[in-house]
Subunit: 333 residues, 2 copies
């Protein structure tokens, strides 16, 4: 059974890479929770609903590990990691509203309980608090990359909104998952390097590490959308395809099975509305070798991420980053 509480999840199956930064990660969790103190009580309730659905806090973990490896001040790292994780949380609040998602990680979303207006404003408030935390790092370059990344994420969501239900190619897919996931993974690592006054080369190497595991992370998510259990996913299997979103497994399937009836229908009309049997199509994709093939692509990105760390001297944090990269493709939720 999927364990939804972050705390419980951590207690039951804690990958080792968390152990290096566990005390700081606990402070990140606290820092996020107090962001609505002294504001409208309903905002506090909303934040509680949102944060209690847990999550792996991978982005915060990346910032903390990179920062610790490079000797960043611990409190500044915690602040930056909180800003990154809260920015991610804010985008999820608006995403779930726009997609009409009622569950995330098996828990009710804010929009399933609150009005659209209150949900929009709560997301806005989280953006504001994330920006405030980023400003508290007292580092203008961190602020700049932070704001840029938000622009990239939102631009990607708009592109996705307008391209839904249309055939896309690999370039389009990778642009989308960069905007959606890899950009913030990249920033989580790179901004920790900036905060540590690291050289441009180190900033680039850590950025590349984050970028590559970000791509791998999203590919694995897209695979899990086909082979996960509904109760584990907290949403129906094949939900991306049902919503008109083509991901890597589908793109590989289209390439390998041009004679499949659903593929022929798709390719001839170019829009997903013509898909006559989505359930059968999802079933066929799930049972084929394309999920393994997509997984192999994700593993290549993990290898590239680990290569980006080759210039760093050995340390507990570097080992944890390597382990974290391997975990990205090993996870099954």
């Amino acid at each position: 059974m999927q364990v939804n509480s972050f705390i419980l999840e951590m207690q039951l199956s804690v990958p080792d890479f968390y152990s290096q930064i566990q005390p700081q990660l606990t402070r990140v969790e606290e820092k996020m929770r107090i962001q609505a103190e002294n504001y409208h009580p309903d905002l506090k309730n909303a934040l509680e609903i949102i944060l209690s659905s847990g999550g792996k806090r991978i982005r915060a973990t990346l910032t903390l590990l990179c920062g610790k490896m490079l000797g960043a001040a611990a409190e500044q790292s915690v602040t930056l990691a909180s800003a990154i994780e809260l920015l991610h949380t804010a985008t999820l609040v608006h995403d779930d509203l726009i997609d009409g998602s009622l569950l995330r990680r098996g828990m009710p979303t804010l929009n399933s309980q609150w009005s659209p207006g209150a949900t929009v404003l709560t997301g806005d408030f989280l953006f504001a608090r994330a920006a405030k935390l980023a400003a508290e790092t007292n580092n203008v370059d961190v602020m700049r990359i932070f704001a840029e990344t938000l622009g990239i994420i939102v631009n990607g969501e708009i592109a996705q909104l307008f391209s839904k239900r249309y055939l896309v190619d690999r370039d389009n897919y990778f642009s989308r998952i960069y905007a959606k996931t890899a950009s913030l993974f990249e920033t989580a690592c790179k901004s920790a390097a900036i905060l540590s006054n690291a050289s441009l080369e180190i900033q680039e190497n850590l950025g590349s590490y984050g970028y590559n595991i970000g791509l791998a992370f999203q590919i694995v998510d897209d695979i899990l959308d086909f082979n996960g259990e509904q109760i584990t996913l907290g949403k129906p299997v094949g939900s991306d395809l049902r919503q008109g979103l083509l991901t890597l497994p589908v793109l590989i399937f289209l390439d390998r099975y041009p004679e499949d009836s659903n593929v022929r229908s798709l390719m001839s009309h170019g829009i997903l509305d013509d898909l006559s049997q989505p359930s059968q199509f999802i079933h066929d994709i799930s049972r084929s070798e394309v999920l393994d093939m997509a997984h192999q692509e994700a593993e290549k990105f993990v290898d590239m991420a680990i290569s980006s760390l080759s210039d760093f001297i050995e340390s507990k944090e570097k080992s944890a980053l390597v382990e974290l990269a391997k975990y990205i493709t090993a996870r099954n939720y």
Copy 2:
């Protein structure tokens, strides 16, 4: 007839205070328009729709005048003024969506033409670009006050959302218009002082100036909601009350006419759903002396704003700020 285009509005009836910063204000307009360059083409279209509805750009004007008076670098002032005005624009995009407003300044709102999802994301994108512009000032204190102000504005909107249709008192009203309007006016002026490396005293004085004209500005808006022409307002007369929002003219009316049938109904039940004749109530308020009384309160805030400038030596910019303050209560749109 209401002139909706900013440029036309400026050409036809330019208050003198604009003349001090006209070239910079033109650059602010350009800077806002290019924020969607290199992003999804629909974002560019959206920005065009939003900015073409014009506006007085009062907030940008405040930043530019304060910055010029204190000797801030011209380009940095333009960047900050663009950030402030774009932040304001972003909040309007989400406000109009939440309120279901179809017109703003007589022009169709974005949400009247786009899906709710696309409108939410466009607002988010504008927040991101506003934060990016704020970061480009290279001033951490400016970034911090900027993020704080966004938090205050959004918190105020949430409080307003949850208090709609309920009786409010003066304290509640002034808290709301501080969050809604005066906070950003305050920040527009104070951040220009921060950018100019002005003393804390100067920062406070200019902040107080912005705060007071911000309160006056919103009170005048709330009066215009009762005595403006529908075509000038770009929305129905009395729209706040119809939406369940009590403003200063109503609060004064409640106080002065406890025996009025609508007032008695309101006071006995405490919620606006019990208002049997909203149109009659709006008519009665519009024809009474309470609009003049509210206007006198606005003028007091203008006087306080002008007093906040007393320590500054005479200059063209100071004269323009005084003139701008007087314009706040003299305007009729």
